[in-house]
Amino acid sequence: MSSVSKQNKKSQQEKSRTTALSVKWARRREVALEVLRNPLTVIGLVIIFLFLMMAAFAPLLVEPNQPDPYQSPRDWSNIDAAPGVAGHILGTDSTGGDVLYGIIWGSRLSLQLSLTVVLFTLIFGTIVGSIAAMRGGKLDNLLMRIVDVFLSIPELIFALAIAAVLGPDFSNIILALAAVFWVKYARIIRGEIIRVKQADYVAAAKVVGDSQWNIYRKDVLPNAATPLIVQATLDMGNVVLIGATLSFIGLAQAGLTEWGALVSNGQSGLLAGEWWVSTFAGLAIVLWALAFNLVGDGLRDVLDPKTEGR
């Protein structure tokens, strides 16, 4: 008898454990559905998905160039060909490089650039900002003064200076952008944490005797992270734009198929009426940035504490 009831109890317990999990997932699904209710956000998500697919399946879409797939194949007989001429759907640039090939294979580098930079800056900025806000006092002062120094130099000029010093290389552009972008995240998260730390639930956790790390992990970070996520989606586009500017100025490796480099190569032909190189590459950048802006807007609406929990 007792073993039966025990069994019963056990299955009940099993059930409540799974329900706790499913409640958390249900809430996440709720948020996801809320995001999907906004058509603009959905458009953004679709664009991002298509771009990622394009980057992932580039070899299936276009035959990779030998030996280096990140250099456009040169069609020396069709230099500056207009779109549609001789099988070049989007035309060719001044060295006979196919623009469509450049955009498809270039997406690999451009998307890699934005994802790496944003992920790195998000993590690094969060760590620095969190340490400053949680520790406070002199350390906070020191870290924030360093952040101020970084913030006082205009983004583009700073990235340019770093890239110029490190030399024209793609990975140096990533480094330069990361060095510029992390400070924003440090500032945002610090401000948010200082705000959240005032809340009574943080005091309640202290009274209960929980460790500072647990309080940070369970109470502070989840309630401070929303603006960071929104900022990150917005920066996905920004990074490609500034990265494009750097390669536009010529700080990327010569001849690399990267969106910014394509725009840069095409600009000399613009005055001669050869509009297609810069335009199509520029369009790709704008679309990528726009897609993340749309998603960022949608996320902000859903995650805003004021509209949350209706």
Binding site: Q13, S16, R17, T19, A20, V23, K24, R27, A199, D200, Y201, A203, A204, A205, K206, V207, V208, G209, D210, S211, N214, K218, D219, P222, N223, P305, E308, G309
Partner: protein
Amino acid sequence: MSGTTGSLAANYGVETDAVVSLNDIKVHYPVKEGVLQRVAGQVRAVDGVDLTIPKGKTLGLVGESGCGKTTLGRVIAGLVSPTSGDIWMDLTVEQQRDVQRLRNQNEKDFSEQDRQLWKQLTTGNRLGSMSREKQREYRRNCQVVFQDAFSSLNPRQLVRDIVGRPLRVHQEASGEDLNRKVIELLERVGLGAEHMLRYPHQFSGGQRQRISIARALALNPAFVILDEPTSALDVSVQAQILNLLVELQADMGLTYLFITHDLGVVQHMSDNIAVMYLGQIVEYGPTDQVFDNPLHPYSKILRDSNPSLEGKRSDRDWELSGTVPNPIEPPHGCRLHPRCPVAAAGCGWSVDDVLNSAEEKTPIIFETITTVERRDDFNAEVKFRDAEAAKSFATQVKSSVANLALDRPPELKGESVKLSFNEVPDASIQQIQDGRWTSCTRTQELGALPGFEKDKG
């Protein structure tokens, strides 16, 4: 002990064992100024509080907002560390007496026996110097219910995780055991298992406060600090929560520190009451007696300002004048005297009081002051732009209560007025009847609250 005036370090409620005793607790916040962050002064949020919280009873701590009652609660909860003073846990009557006796002595003059005793007390019962395990035990034993049930529950945690958190932290339960205990706690506060897997925003204010109480009770504490637990709730819900608290106290033998500005609630809830004003405790005593016969003008005014359903109000004339003084430089003597309806000569008048009152009542005269040369807080020469203003200032001083505190009449010399007040020590809280303590110096002299003559200046 009864009937005598207390020693310098007061400890009320010494007749019973105490869950917490406070000795001369001060919380001062530095006010920083300018680029160099120079310390310009100290905000004295809590300024020398002695308090004993008797075991198994409810102590009401009342006062208007900004008087430091919440800060004091946070000091006891360990959320704010005091600038100075000692916090003792779990002292018996004997130990409380020992602490009082030894605190009034110089540590160098201790006998060998006393030295041993002091060491034993400080390592065993004093917060900060006792062992880590003891400290942890104190934290477990002392829980808090916060005022705002909306901001005291993490919006991103399930009720199960909120209520079960103390159990997890102290490794009391995990997994299914935790769920079972959480359900038990929820049922105890009038909620049920079905509420376990919901988020705080899905509850009403009263229910949230119940969750908050369940969390506070999770570790089976002996002592709960209730920081205005009902002030954010509707009146009907207030009553439910208060009744729940009373029930829980009877069931679990809890000790409460009930912090509130609502005297009706405190009268309903507490055995003893401590009235706080501007960082200090001005009156302490059994609740009924304090309500029937307050021994401090401030307590009386607080009591009478509470609107009653019958609409009758006794002694309309007892009112506080002016505004709450600056806690950076609190008044001398009794801190209430600039606002007190029965203030007299010996209440601690000083130059600042006269200047403040001039600023409030006659700003035109106040603005003609050119310099104030002060020798100290009680002696100063106030200079005006013209003789006329000086004259009317002197007249004004002469017609106020402060005039009685001058050791000679204000010296009017052309454009300046010389003021010289009798220096008065700061008021201290003393026992004037059995179990009744007050810091009102006039009550201390008269043995009863001074009468109010309506036609007085």
